[in-house]
């Protein structure tokens, strides 16, 4: 689900369930189940449940999806239980993002793989905020399939360049091969030239663009 495009809620839930089942303790699994029930009954409950996910479910790495941690997957699972769609869903996600800490924000951004199709362009301001932040954890989480599908060419290229600047591996950027164009190659080439002129290393991720040119 990182790079193969947007997925449905059901598909995402199934995939994350498979990933979480072997790693969640019985207590954590029970808490997450109850939390999902609360959120599906009352979406406002997510405001106090989302920040508790790391403490309740753990924060270790997950074998898959690549780059995800246990709390990432648990947060997205929780968000998939939101009983709304369209505009109310977009407003709920915007609120959770605004008042979330960096971990919660990453969860909201990752949830767009599955929820993005339901909110249309309405979650774009969240991506713009994350990409403005320079926080490498947020930048990486923002560049999923929703970003590949929705960001303008200029915003998307700037985001990819920012990854190179802030050390986010381009392997984490969804749809890179499909969206990379001559303008991105030019930007990367100029970046490499600047680095070389300053006697600094050119990140390995940049090399592929130089060959394209």
């Amino acid at each position: 689900m990182t790079g193969d495009g947007l997925v449905t809620r059901e598909a995402a839930r199934a995939e994350l369930g498979l990933a979480l089942d072997p790693v969640l303790s019985p207590d954590a699994a029970a808490w997450l189940g109850l939390a999902r029930e609360s959120v599906s009954g009352d979406p406002a409950a997510a405001a106090v449940l989302l920040p508790a996910v790391g403490r309740r479910c753990g924060r270790g790495p997950l074998p898959a999806p690549p780059g995800w941690s246990v709390d990432d997957a648990a947060r997205v699972t929780l968000l998939l239980a939101l009983p709304c769609t369209g505009e109310p869903l977009a407003a709920r996600l915007a609120d959770l993002y605004r008042f979330g800490d960096a971990h919660e924000r990453r969860g909201v951004l990752r949830s767009l793989d599955a929820l993005g199709a339901e909110v249309g362009h309405a979650a774009l301001p969240l991506l713009h905020d994350a990409l403005r932040s320079n926080d490498s954890r947020l930048v990486a989480a923002a560049l999923g399939p929703y970003a590949a599908a929705r960001l303008t060419g200029h915003a998307w290229r700037q985001a990819v360049l920012k990854c190179v600047f802030t050390g986010v591996p381009l392997a984490l950027v969804a749809g890179l091969d499909e969206r990379a164009d001559a303008e991105l190659a030019r930007m990367m080439t100029d970046f490499a030239r600047e680095r070389t002129a300053a006697g600094r290393d050119v990140p390995p991720d940049v090399a592929r663009f130089l060959e394209v040119r």
Partner: protein, 287 residues
């Protein structure tokens, strides 16, 4: 000497302070939400402040090897401003964040009806969110304010062992000693308490349920007053174990009741927050 400063406003301090604190043995601290000198006039500035207390400031502390936690509340000095009152609606979600280990600073400034309401409401939030409470006692009319705070705590139903009454002195400590509440002391260069007076209080009341803090902020204050108190205790014949109890084990026990203390060595070093490293390059090493 390992030190846990249970009350210090790092938002107002420099990286020099972090370096000196680490060198002196400070490895963990709690930053209570309080006022910033300049009054705030909207809820948005509180949200940004709270975001900093769980975001930027713990990140900054980690760069210097120090674990940062915080408490959150609408403080008594701003509780009377109707423009700030909606902060109470913001608190339930912030009280669930990682790194929030108590509700505070709550309590009285001028003992107004508005302060009464906000104080009682926030003690109820502490019970609801399973958190201890940090109670600030007023600078003016302190003894009366301390008595009234104890009444409000009693009425709240919060177990006294989950409450610290802070900024005590020789006059007010006796009011709290028999209640089961924890006793907090802020050691300041000139006002509040100093380290020798603190030693005298420890001689009289013992080391149980006592917290010693620097309460350093944007005013004249000293983030190493915890260390100075430890030194004064040793000079007065207290043991290393007594010092460790007061300056480390007591705050760990009190705030540990939140279940959210994280005392592992922080991962500082190369980490970036919002693209900033604070350290700004690697320090030169001399051969």
């Amino acid at each position: 000497m390992r030190i846990f400063d249970p009350h210090i406003h790092m938002t107002s301090r420099t990286t020099d302070d972090y370096e000196r604190m680490y060198a002196a043995g400070v490895r963990a601290l709690v930053e209570p939400a309080f006022w910033l000198g300049q009054p705030r006039t909207s809820v948005g500035t509180f949200a940004d402040y709270f975001d900093g207390l769980v975001g930027w400031e713990p990140f900054r502390a980690a760069q210097f090897g120090i674990r940062h936690h915080c408490t959150m509340a609408l403080n008594p000095k701003e509780a009377g401003d109707p423009r700030c009152r909606p902060v109470l609606d913001l608190l339930p979600r912030y009280l669930e964040k990682d790194g929030v280990v108590a509700v505070g600073e709550v309590g009285y400034d001028s003992m107004t009806p508005e302060e009464d309401e906000v104080f009682a409401h926030q003690l109820a939030l502490a019970a609801e969110h399973g958190l201890p409470a940090l109670v600030h006692t007023p600078h003016r009319d302190k003894a009366a304010g301390t008595r009234r705070s104890l009444d409000v705590v009693r009425e709240s139903g919060l177990p006294p062992g989950r409450v610290v009454i802070d900024h005590l002195n020789e006059v007010t400590v006796g009011l709290v000693a028999g209640t089961g509440c924890w006793m907090g002391f802020s050691i300041y260069p000139d006002t509040k308490m100093d380290e020798d007076r603190m030693v005298a209080v420890l001689r009289e009341y013992g080391t149980e349920r006592i917290l010693v803090n620097s309460a350093a902020d944007w005013g004249r204050s000293d983030p190493l007053k915890t260390v100075r108190t430890g030194e004064a205790m040793l000079a007065a014949g207290f043991t290393e174990d007594d010092v460790d109890r007061v300056l480390w084990r007591n705050p760990v026990e009190f705030y540990g009741q939140s279940g959210r203390l994280d005392l592992d060595t922080p991962a500082g070093g190369e980490a970036l927050f919002a693209g900033n490293s604070v350290l700004r390059g690697t320090p030169r090493t001399t051969a």
